[in-house]
Amino acid sequence: MSTLVLLTVTGLGLAALYFLVASGLSLIFGLMGVLNFAHGAFLTIGAYGTWWAAENLPGAGASGWGFVLAVAFGVAVGTLVAALVELALIRPLYERHIEQVLVTVGLSLAMVALVRAIWGADPRPFPAPDWAKDTTSLLGANVPNDRFLLVGSAVVVLLAVLAFLRFTRFGLVIRAGVENRSMVTALGIDVRRAFTLVFAIGGAFAALAGALGGVYLGSISPGQGTSLLIFAFIVVVIGGMSSITGAAVAAVLVGLVQQFANYYAASGVGDLSVVLLLAVVLLTRPGGLTARVA
């Protein structure tokens, strides 16, 4: 029983990470039709920004409010970089999707290489508040607290995004844009502002995922973003490309499948079964879980 609980909570923690990365990806894809390969780089930037702030920023540190400040700094850097990328590189290629994807590919290579050049390729120990390293007893299992931190953050982000999309004017524009962009443009609304906003939001979530991923894994390295990104892509596709709730459901599914298969079969089988899951979902419902079946 305790193993079951531990696996479930750990799987949910992993799902939370995937969801944080995938939510931004699916928003960007839904609105702009761009598959953002630079998302993994945003994640790396957020992780390194948090790590840097915890060491160097006055008032920030590895515990309590200092850690919150450090994470806020990392998220702010990620948001800023993402918004700048959109303004400087994605916007001029308006409506040229393949080229936009190519630019994000080049960016992901260049940004990760830059981080590697500055801080080296070796993993760095990541600051984590003490309580995150402790365990809480839950149904007889000793669950590390960082899992709850991950799940909690993901739930807050999910609710915040849904509220933002549902109750604000910008959210309305984004939802309408995902539905039918040319119509929104024809109604005289400048969709490009929404693009920048969506990119910034996606960058913020990716940076948050980077910081929390650092807590979860205990260390950060430049290549970390890429491996998380691939599973986030899988989550996005299973969830149905442009649906936030779909991404959330798919993230939980992928996280749990991965954890349980890795434990009960053999290490590495989890990653295999995730790809199998992707194949099965795509063959049965080519549009993903949330696709409307005509």
Partner: protein, 375 residues
């Protein structure tokens, strides 16, 4: 350039490259030693191999419009399968090659069979995910077979002596050149064939191909398998060249590198893709040397740090090319030719989101021109 000269150009290049090892030219700046020194030949051979692999990727991306993110899987399968056959099973090179060919057909057939059921971005994702599985399997080192992160050294006992040792680098160079020539010939032949026309039609307008009564799925599967097989064979040459397999060839970054090569050279152009692969590999190697050179080490930190990572420079260069040089090197050449022949230069206004469209006519001109769509 007249049509006949264009026909003969690849042959002329092949001849020049074939006699290159007999030259003792010293090209300061470009290469460290004389042209036929083992180090230089090794670098040139690497460039040629990647020219061929980039061309196999272009067959998918440039000619058929299939954006696969999993091409690394087949290249890596080539090096690891051949390596295991030679080292673990103790087979000869011929048998290893036969096994690699079988795997190089079966694997893309399996992956493509599933991935091509969906199209567009979903296809890219499925190929990315399957390639990631390959990468994970290699890193997990099942049964100590793949060597994990260390890579897998090649036991040279079963390799013919002509490919072993520094003195025989020239033979490996010729092998790489032969590989490139074979890939080039195969690609030239298939893209000029009727199937090649259908692939181009699929790139331009898949719905229309379907309406004409052809099944795009079958055609796409054939090109997917062919590109995978050519990449796997490239993996074998790479193995003989480096004397081992490295897990770096299994990563998504490796596939992205191929994509960068093809776009640099010009997607949808045969010689463009080859040139892109050669240039990228050369730059990657030389920039790595440059990073450790004393000239760079003495620079101030803000210059030294970016220069120490070739990928940073190549990634930035790639972004610039996508932005300012549509169609890559081949695109530039095509525009220059248009200008020379006095035709009105193309307005450069690419249809939205198509890298390769602009090259359609120039590339098609090599083999009688592709049927134009009404769109």
């Amino acid at each position: 350039m007249s049509r006949n000269l264009t026909r003969l150009a690849p042959l002329a290049v092949l001849v020049v490259l074939a006699v290159l090892p007999y030259s003792t030219l010293q090209i300061p700046g470009l290469f460290d030693g004389v042209l036929n020194s083992p180090g230089t030949l090794q670098l040139l051979a690497l460039c040629l191999v990647f020219g061929g692999v980039a061309l196999s990727y272009d067959l998918l991306f440039g000619f058929t419009g299939l954006l696969s993110f999993g091409h690394a899987l087949y290249f890596a399968a080539g090096t690891y399968v051949a390596n295991l056959a030679l080292t673990e099973l103790g087979w000869g090179l011929g048998a290893a090659l036969a096994l690699t060919t079988a795997v190089g057909i079966a694997l893309p057939l399996l992956v493509g069979g599933v991935a091509l059921r969906v199209s567009g971005i979903a296809f890219s994702m499925v190929t990315l995910a399957t390639a990631q599985v390959g990468s994970i399997v290699v890193l997990r080192d099942p049964g100590g077979l793949t060597g994990g992160e260390e890579g897998l050294a090649l036991d040279r006992g079963n390799v013919p002596d002509v490919f072993v040792g520094v003195l025989n680098t020239v033979n490996v160079y010729w092998l790489a050149l032969a590989y490139l020539a074979v890939v080039y010939a195969v690609v030239a032949w298939v893209t000029g064939s009727r199937a090649g026309r259908v692939w181009q039609a699929i790139r331009e307008n898949e719905r229309r191909v379907e309406v004409l009564g052809l099944r795009p799925y079958d055609f796409k599967l054939v090109v997917f398998v062919l590109a995978g097989l050519l990449a796997a064979l490239g993996g074998v040459v790479h193995l003989l060249l480096l004397g081992g397999s490295t897990p770096r060839t299994t990563t998504a970054d490796f596939t992205l590198g191929l994509l960068v090569m093809v776009v640099l050279g010009g997607a949808g152009s045969r010689w463009g893709a080859v040139l892109g692969g050669v240039l990228y590999t050369y730059l990657d190697s030389r920039l790595t040397d440059l990073a450790s050179s004393p000239a760079v080490q003495d620079l101030p930190a803000w210059l030294r740090v970016p220069l120490s990572e070739p990928l940073f420079l190549l990634g930035s260069l790639f972004v610039l090319v996508v932005f300012f040089v549509p169609g890559g090197i081949a695109g530039v050449v095509a525009r220059l030719r248009e200008r020379r022949s006095g035709r009105r230069p193309g307005d450069g206004g690419l249809p939205p989101g198509r890298v390769v469209e602009q090259l359609r006519e120039q590339v098609g001109a090599g083999y009688g021109g592709a049927p134009r769509d009404g769109v």
